[in-house]
Subunit: 313 residues, 2 copies
């Protein structure tokens, strides 16, 4: 476990610090899945200005977000007009785009996929000596008792058993790590929702599952051993415990942000109300529109924070 | 749990059957993540000839495999010359390509990501009334005590605690499902390794982890609370239990193939020997070359099986 001394040390130092003493001894660190290296790439020069890292599921969504945030901040993105360049280059596992102080990163689906790119990005901003970096997950989810198209800002995150912990196995032993949401940060971002928005934004608990079908109680997967009533009873139960939405990455995201001592927030739009069905049937046009809702809130927050930073100099 | 009656019933019927009674009641099933539907797409006409489904991590690798298997079987792939068409179209979560009786599917990283596309592909081949379908995972892995570039055909798969089970949470309760490898099928495929191959092929146990760094004992992630000796002792221990390679999907793949009553095999090439380090430092050219090794073995198996099928008529 990290000691209090370590935590204080990190809080006093504004750069992102990896929590791994072994890395200090390694002179070469090849960030394999994002095709960058701390020795062959000039990370400080290329990424030292990064203040905001936004993670989302797919490369195309994060490319579009890069163009949107670039326009919002009035900064150029890296790449050709209409086509931000994927910095990870030859690998097609993940995509990373850059627009001024913002990195936009695709994380794929599920905690294992997210965990790799999140750790390599933590190492990247550490080597680049970035200061006061903030991480955001802007994603999609199933909703519970809220209108499809609602943005949920996560103020608590739980696993499928309603525990605020991420369980994993390290060196053959079970490890349980707390998923501690920075509630102040979540509330701060929530303030950027506007009464005139054509969508609703709520603060709520997010349930993170390891599967889209059985793991989320759905009865339309290839396998199912429970029935419609079992599902509804479970959905009612988790809803009574404050759960507003269900997705597949927030628990890992929040747990790792907390470990890295990086401010992290999760904003997901809901694509359906699970009380009314299992299938995402939203048409493509509406789907494209609603995926932008959490991006709109995060962009407002970033624009405000970036302008304050520029004023400070 | 599935009853023996169900299993017998499925074995007698050569089509792939989903194990979910609720699906029979649903007239419309939109396979959301692969953009196909059982009502708006003529699945039987488009996919009814599929006999072999090959899964791998990335879209580009599976596109290259599609071109390779198409040339090996002497069948055209769906798409333009040099550029197989991704059947999932507008979504960039997964890619599916088709060459005659072969589907090539990208599954991303980790069991949660794999589980979604594997379930939707099980439903696809079920609706398309495919018969005697076989699934393969052709991937990459870390090796243990074998030369980098070795192909491991999985004959047993275990989780990070060396258990041959996949644990998940369904409706708030822990569920433990057996990861039963079809050993006869693994041996059958292993026979297609050739003494003249420039790479070695072995049968062995595969350890499936939920993380690339701590979960595989690495000490070069963003977080690490163990040291070099702890890692080596763990690697020695799992190696003494027969583990030849470590990756992140096989446990889910094998468990779900077993549940779907589909023959499934896992073949992964090793990119490094973990006894010698944590970092993948193989150069790009060698990496591209070795990724083809498991594809070569699977292509030989498929070519032989396909020609036998054609002879039978």
């Amino acid at each position: 476990m990290d000691t209090t001394t370590d935590d204080n040390d990190i809080k006093q130092n504004r750069t992102v610090r990896v929590k791994n003493p072994h890395l200090l001894k390694n002179t070469v660190d090849h960030l394999y899945h994002i095709s960058l290296s701390n020795t062959s790439d000039d990370l400080e020069n290329r990424f030292g200005d990064v203040k905001f890292v936004c993670f989302g599921g797919t490369p195309s969504r994060m490319s579009k977000f890069t163009q949107f945030i670039s326009s919002e901040l009035g900064v150029k993105y890296y790449g050709d007009v209409g086509s931000p360049t994927n910095i990870t280059g030859s690998t097609d596992r993940y995509a990373i785009y850059k627009a001024g102080p913002v990195l936009a990163v695709s994380h794929g689906i599920g905690i294992p996929s997210l965990s790799i790119v999140l750790q390599e990005v933590v190492k990247l901003v550490h080597y680049a000596k970035c200061q006061d970096v903030e991480f955001f997950r802007i994603g999609t989810s199933g909703g519970l008792g809220v209108e499809p198209g609602t943005v949920v800002v996560t103020e608590k995150v739980v696993n499928g058993a309603l525990e605020p912990f991420h369980h994993s196995i390290v060196l053959g032993k079970s490890v349980k790590r707390p998923a501690v949401v920075d509630k102040e940060f979540a509330k701060e971002i929530y303030q950027f929702a506007d009464i005139s928005d054509k969508f609703q934004t709520v603060l709520g608990t997010t349930l993170c599952a390891d599967d889209f079908y059985e793991g989320q109680g759905r009865i339309d997967g290839a396998f199912c051993e429970h029935d419609h009533d079992d599902k509804l009873n479970w959905l009612k139960h988790v809803h009574s415990q404050g759960v507003c939405n269900i997705e597949m990455e927030s628990l890992g995201f929040i747990t790792m942000c907390h470990r890295a001592n990086v401010k992290g927030a999760v904003l997901c739009v809901t694509l359906l109300d699970r009380f009314k069905g299992d299938m995402v049937t939203m048409d493509h046009k509406f789907l494209t529109a609603v995926q932008k809702y959490p991006q709109i809130i995060v962009a407002r927050y970033i624009k405000n924070a970036y302008h304050l930073l520029l004023k400070k100099g």
